[in-house]
Symmetry: C2
Subunit: 443 residues, 2 copies
């Protein structure tokens, strides 16, 4: 039997890049070939939730353990991910994150004798996402962010818990779990500064603007059906590094200039400029994938149709009123799914268009961000007068499988921390094992 000595639970948000990360210059430290920038989505909607507990084992087991070296305790670390126990192993990214946080705690314990000794205890970690794989979202960013945030809270390392590590410093740890996870440690608009140092010390996340600065920015995730499995991004991006000429111009010119322009657009809440940079970066990223040998494809025919629809909407809007600017922006990660960004006022029109051209998408609208759902059909008087309704055909039912409507959100939250798990927030019970809470509201 084991029991909890200390526990902490954190939630962390998903982020969707508008300037994409693609390519590592150091695959072990996860140092990217270029800066990137993302929008953090609202964790009231989509989130990873992680409880971490330092666990004391019973007398008999303790004696057995003390016969081994102190370094043996990490081998007792355990992880349950979405209800299934996973092997942490003695190396790999998860181990790297845990070890770095444990080392930081050990250092604090060594420097201040009054601090409770927990660094030597095994960790039990339970993590759950409230969005299924079917939502088409990568869970590694929010997952590693929640893991880092919960362990750093458990160890009282982060400034929220009275510790000395800044969020950016912790983002360095999350980065080594999954590159883009570093950006999920902040809310709002977040840059991952690629950095110059060989040891990765300056490769970390920085907040460009907080959620409150531009809180009416909404997102619509269009989950697109695709029969084919794409190339895993970890393998794909290094093939691009090795073979694409277009990536070189992306690294040397395209991204550095875009980072400046999009940062300025965000600071000025200039949606038109933000949209243009976002769309061009997505296209530039997928162009470098296509320029890879053998080529990597993530966009499919439905993705192309979404692009053409949004481009026509923006074109006709600008034509109808010069200076009106873009109505929406699209961006695509390493998969066929579109994420559309738009100011709140444009969302009803955008949603009605998407639902018209891509009928029968599953949209139960769990977050109800609009007072009423837009009707199907192009009855909206808000459609620009020169919008070409035949720009794309109406797709067969289900080509866009699911729609999720959400918005910009804040950074990770500590939901509870202390010496017992009686608090409702935790995913681990007093017996140090996962509680199947069914508390996670599924999207």
């Amino acid at each position: 039997m084991a029991r909890i000595k200390r526990i902490a639970t954190a939630s962390a948000p998903v982020n969707i890049a508008v300037v994409k990360y693609w390519g590592k210059k150091d695959t072990k430290l996860i140092l990217p070939t270029n800066d990137s920038l993302s929008v953090t989505l609202d964790q009231d909607h989509l989130r990873s939730l992680t409880s971490s507990a330092a666990v004391e084992v019973e007398q008999q087991e303790q004696e057995q353990q003390q016969g081994e070296s102190v370094a043996a305790s990490p081998s007792k670390d355990r992880l349950w991910l979405n209800g299934v126990e996973e092997e942490i192993g003695s190396e790999g990214r998860l181990r790297t994150c845990i070890d770095q946080l444990r080392d930081a705690r050990r250092k604090v314990e060594g420097e201040d004798g009054g601090v409770e000794k927990i660094a030597h205890l095994p960790l039990h970690i339970v993590s759950e996402n409230n969005f299924p794989t079917a939502a088409g979202l990568a869970s590694s960013a929010s997952g590693f962010a929640a893991l880092v945030w919960s362990i750093s809270s458990l160890y009282q390392l982060n400034s929220d818990s009275g510790g000395h590590l800044s969020t950016s410093a912790l983002s360095r740890v999350a980065r080594q779990g999954s590159g883009s996870a570093c950006r999920s440690l902040f809310g709002g608009f977040v840059a991952w500064q690629g950095g110059e140092a060989k040891d990765g010390s300056d490769s970390l996340a920085l907040q460009v603007a907080e959620r409150q600065h531009w809180k009416d920015l909404h997102a619509i995730i269009c989950v697109i059906s695709d029969a084919k499995k794409g190339t895993p991004s970890t393998a794909g991006m290094q093939r691009t590094v090795q073979t694409s000429a277009a990536l070189q111009s992306r690294i040397s010119h395209v991204v550095p200039e875009r980072m400046q322009r999009i940062t300025s657009a965000i600071k000025q809440r200039d949606f038109d400029a933000f949209a243009k940079e976002t769309m061009r970066d997505s296209n530039n990223f997928h162009a470098t994938c296509l320029d890879t040998s053998p080529p990597i494809f993530y966009l499919n025919d439905t993705s192309r149709l979404v692009i053409q629809l949004v481009e026509e909407l923006n074109r006709s809007s600008e034509q109808a009123a010069a200076g009106a600017g873009a109505i929406a922006a699209y961006t695509f990660d390493a998969g066929p799914n579109a994420v559309l960004y738009a100011p709140e006022k444009n969302v009803p029109l955008l949603l009605s268009l998407i639902r018209h051209y891509f009928p029968n998408a599953d949209f139960d609208d769990p977050f109800k961000l609009l007072p009423s759902l837009p009707q199907d059909g192009l009855t909206s008087a808000d459609l620009p007068s020169t919008f070409n309704k035949s720009v794309i055909p109406v797709s067969e039912a289900g080509a866009v499988r699911r729609l999720i409507h959400t918005r910009v959100g804040d950074g990770p939250r500590i939901l509870g921390a202390g010496s017992s798990s009686t608090d409702d927030a935790h995913l681990i019970g007093q017996d140090a094992l996962p509680i199947r809470l069914q508390r996670v509201k599924r999207v």
Copy 2:
């Protein structure tokens, strides 16, 4: 009534670029932003056929004409294209080509009084392709090549007709009709040297190797169904010039280095190197299209599947026997259709694979380049042992609509020239009007 003073008929081949032309630095002179290189296909299979006649009008009409200026005669030039009369107009690309050839004839007539005076006579031009639009091939290259070749033969300008203009010199004229037409003036393997001169004097075609040098190179054209009309290439390429960062690296590094490597591959008949450069250039070209704002798409989901199939075939071949090299190469112009190149010995396997994964393609095999058609189904023992049969799914019937099997071919041919059209070769009758010969064997 009008009658023929002199007539000439020429045929010209289609060419398919392996290093693509995309972008003009001078849209009037059609000066490309980069060199390109193509394979000329056999005109025994696919060709444009053009008759040009210098036409004397009857007495009454002549008098009427002599009341006008000499320069008025071009306004009587007439053109019939695939049986339909088209307006030549007083400007535009067709007019540019006709004027330049007429000026060259006029100069010869001025310098040598013994030469028959025909430059002042109106031209009647009749042109037909033996491949319908449904074949998915651009006809402007072979069309302008046949036009330039027939008029230069009519005017006895080209060296084949005893004139002083080299084929490369005439390619400058064809270039101004349609850029890639300059490459259809040679057989075999043809480079279009982009050139440096402002006036385009050094922007012309050069033969890299003739057909005989590598005559077992075959091509399979896969005509792919596509509901959507693509962006016209003339408009599309200038949008790329204006907006794509990837095009800049293509112009400055990618193409210059590739031209050297692929020229060397052709000279050494190194199919593996030829295939790799061909496929990478196609992907780099489509990447610059995707990098354009708004993005331009030519590849569709079926195109992607063809790419994945050929990549897997080459990968498994190389794995089965190191150094075996590529079995086939794919390339895509400004549309979804694939052109596959392969040495003759690889064609049965390639055809059987394509017909297995893309069933029900129309393939009546008019040219019968193989002693017997490969069977449908993957029964071939020639398939590399590690070929992954589930690399792509079997597509729905007709996703590849049509297959055309052809091979590398020779340059334009003069089929007949003289003072009367009694020769069977001509598409114009003694009355100076089109004969609907039904002589053109349709593909």
